[in-house]
């Protein structure tokens, strides 16, 4: 059995063919939108302004990358993010919980949902699809009950507690971008250089073989969901820092967008194969696309249609690539 090897340029091999294509798509899209909108899409400030509103999506995408790497899926990330923002925000406004404590609370709620999802999936072996669908509703319900179905407005920049908005941007410095890239690097290191990432990827590829190697697969699988939950909690901070107002009962539209960014970046839906840099580029493409659609004068609903189609296209590409290999 001989496997035909395609000769690859060293640079291409190192960066990955997939990612080069993605970067190319990104540049092309940027130019196309720029041309179509008569130049108003260009400019550094325009870019950072755009990005300010999508860092949260980046964190969601990073988080769900870990879950998808195990061969699982998490449809609760959007609503859980809303739940984090709503419950901690309501505590801040109504019960006078200090800002720092509220932010920490946001992250902790994300962690709790990660533990919950992870435990059910890994130890009780409930299918991830079902678990995350259920916890999506639980998150929505908790948020609505806690806030008495009222929307929560986090403090404006001008108020004393307004400093949290600096996480996104401070005096024109793109703090959000710096934090997002830093967290991405940490995620990449965790996924590729540590035991955590190694086991998460391996069990995503062949769980039974890893189990029979004497590895506690349940623990590592649960860990992937906890990492995801933590990043969802962090995402909620960047969400409120950008938008300040959160309304209970929503959040599911971001599931698709985050997952789209992840699979576009080359993370395989069947598990075992994941790329953080791919996710980063993928999520930027999704964001750009959405802003571009709006800039072209289409309504938000068109975004949903296009994101849906992208998910299908990306997953189909992955599936057919696998079929060719076999």
């Amino acid at each position: 059995m001989k496997v035909e090897k395609i000769k690859q340029n060293a640079f291409v091999k190192k960066v990955g063919f997939n990612r080069i294509v993605l970067i190319f798509v990104l540049i092309l899209m940027y130019l196309a939108f720029g041309a179509l909108t008569g130049g108003s899409f260009f400019g550094v400030s325009r870019i950072t302004n755009t990005l300010n509103y999508v860092y949260f999506l980046g964190f969601l995408s990073l988080g769900v990358t870990f879950v998808i790497a195990t061969g699982g899926i998490d449809f609760s990330i959007g609503p859980v993010m809303y739940c984090c923002a709503l419950v901690s925000g309501y505590s801040l406004i109504t019960y006078g919980v200090p800002m720092t404590a509220s932010l920490i609370m946001s992250v902790l709620i994300g962690v709790v949902f990660g533990v919950f999802n992870g435990y059910l999936v890994a130890y009780w072996k409930v299918p991830p699809f079902i678990v995350s669908m259920a916890s999506m509703n639980i998150a929505k319900g908790i948020a609505a009950v806690f806030t008495k179905t009222q929307s929560v407005s986090w403090p404006q920049s001008s108020t004393a507690d307004g400093w949290y908005r600096n996480f996104v941007s401070m005096n024109g410095i793109p703090v959000g971008l710096i934090i997002f890239l830093a967290v991405s690097v940490i995620c990449a290191v965790v996924l590729n250089k540590t035991k955590w990432g190694r086991y998460i990827l391996c069990l995503g590829s062949n769980e039974e073989a890893v189990r029979l190697s004497g590895v506690n697969v349940k623990k590592w699988k649960m860990l992937a969901y906890i990492i995801c939950g933590t990043l969802v909690g962090i995402a909620s901070i960047f969400f409120v820092a950008a938008y300040t107002t959160v309304q209970p009962g929503y959040g599911d539209q971001y599931n698709n967008e985050a997952i789209a960014g992840c699979v576009m970046g080359g993370t395989s839906m069947v598990g075992g194969l994941a790329s953080i840099s791919g996710t980063v580029i993928g999520v930027i493409i999704i964001s750009l696309l959405q802003q571009g659609i709006l800039a072209l004068g289409f309504t938000k609903e068109y975004q949903y249609i296009i994101t849906g189609l992208i998910v299908i296209a990306a997953v189909y590409a992955d599936v057919s690539a696998r079929r060719r290999k076999n």
């Binding site: 059995m1 496997v3 290191v189 250089k193 540590t194 035991k195 190694r198 086991y199 990827l201 391996c202 590829s205 062949n206 039974e208 073989a209 890893v210 189990r211 029979l212 190697s213 004497g214 590895v215 506690n216 075992g272 194969l273």
Partner: protein, 498 residues
Amino acid sequence: MGDIILTMKGIDKSFPGVHALDHVDLEVRKGEVLALMGENGAGKSTLMKVLTGIYKKDSGTITYEGKEIEFKNTREAQDAGIVIVHQELNMLGHLTVAQNLFIGREFKKGIRIDDRKMNEEAKKLFDRLNVDIDPTETMSHLTVGKQQMCEIAKAVSFDAKVIIFDEPSAALTESEIEEMFKIIRDLKKKDIAMVYISHRMDEIKVITDRVTVMRDGAYVGTLITEECTKEDIINMMVGRVIYEEPKTESAVPKDAPVVLKVEHLNAGRMVQDVSFELRKGEILGFSGLMGAGRTETARALFGADPKESGDIYVNGKKVTINNPQDAVNCGIGYLSEDRKRYGIVVQKTVAENTTMASMQDFMNGIFIDKKKETEIADKYVEALATKTPGVDQLVVNLSGGNQQKVVIAKWLTRNSDILIFDEPTRGIDVGAKNEIYKLMNKLVEEGKSIIMISSEMTEILRMSDRIVVMCEGKKTGELDISEAKQETIMNLATREIE
């Protein structure tokens, strides 16, 4: 005895690397039960698959009812009246008996399925076969025996003229088998020809008229059941020339310390009260036919499947093994017969697979020490002569034999002292086989101890120091290599009613 209904002549079939059928002849007559016997891998199932169109033959002719035929699929064979009753039941548990019987050819009333008509037809069919089953019962509520009856009834409902039973009794109780035999005798009277594949010698004597024996993909001969003994059949089954000299004597001293002791292990129907000892530096062969419970024993011992009861001692100390982690910590390593599913992570590299079971030894703080990992992987690639372009090669690109070596490297890296090799050379070509054998011998010389499960008689006789024989979930014997012969092992591996 009736006229010949089916003749297969000079059937030849090769798969890449295996000559599965070597000019096999078979002749079936109306109203007879023909036993088809042979060891695992003798080619019985392949022959039946060629007959029913699952495999395409390379050469040879099949004559059925006087005409030469070649089926393209089982559907065509079914329509012509040749039906297989499988060992595994192919029933949909949540449907009713009648719905199962007529699946794919339901009676319709307009566009609706006519359940009442199906129930009536099923009832008629069961009456004809003298079987007492309610057609409206949900399939999963029936016993395995009754489900088997349904399979047979389904075969008959195709207007079958030739029915092939592929180990039909494997899951049945004594009384269920008796009931099945009643049906078979009935079918005989209706002039239906039957081919009966089974390992159970006692059944062969009771129910069949003639016995055709195959060995290593070739036709050996046909006997009249009444005129032959069990020994005659076994001799025909095993009477091959052995190319590799079997081991005549064990080099392991009789007083070598016991490294693993298993007492009264129970895990379901396939592992019943199994006890054995493994001594340091020995290869303990586990022989038996398919479904004897050897893999199940190994998996229960390793903690891969839950066990009901039983004590395990490692180096004289009693240990608790509830999952593979416990087993690995006791120094046990398991090399599964299905490497791709249970042994390796194919989409990962040789190095990553090598350290899979011992990650904790390759950490530098929180980071994986890639340098150390590469070193150990390189070391074992060299020591085991694994053919790979490098340790960063994905395992999926390696051949079966080399994948097996990667699994061995994994357990050597973990420093496991007790290795369970489950069918170590399945799917591995001859040259690589010898390498694996050499490797196993080297491992025991270095003081490791090996349990080797094998369905290949030559492998068992060549490698083992002692042999445990299992049959239907029970240990039926234990032999020293000096007293082991193919015939004795086969005798222990086939069941006999006392």
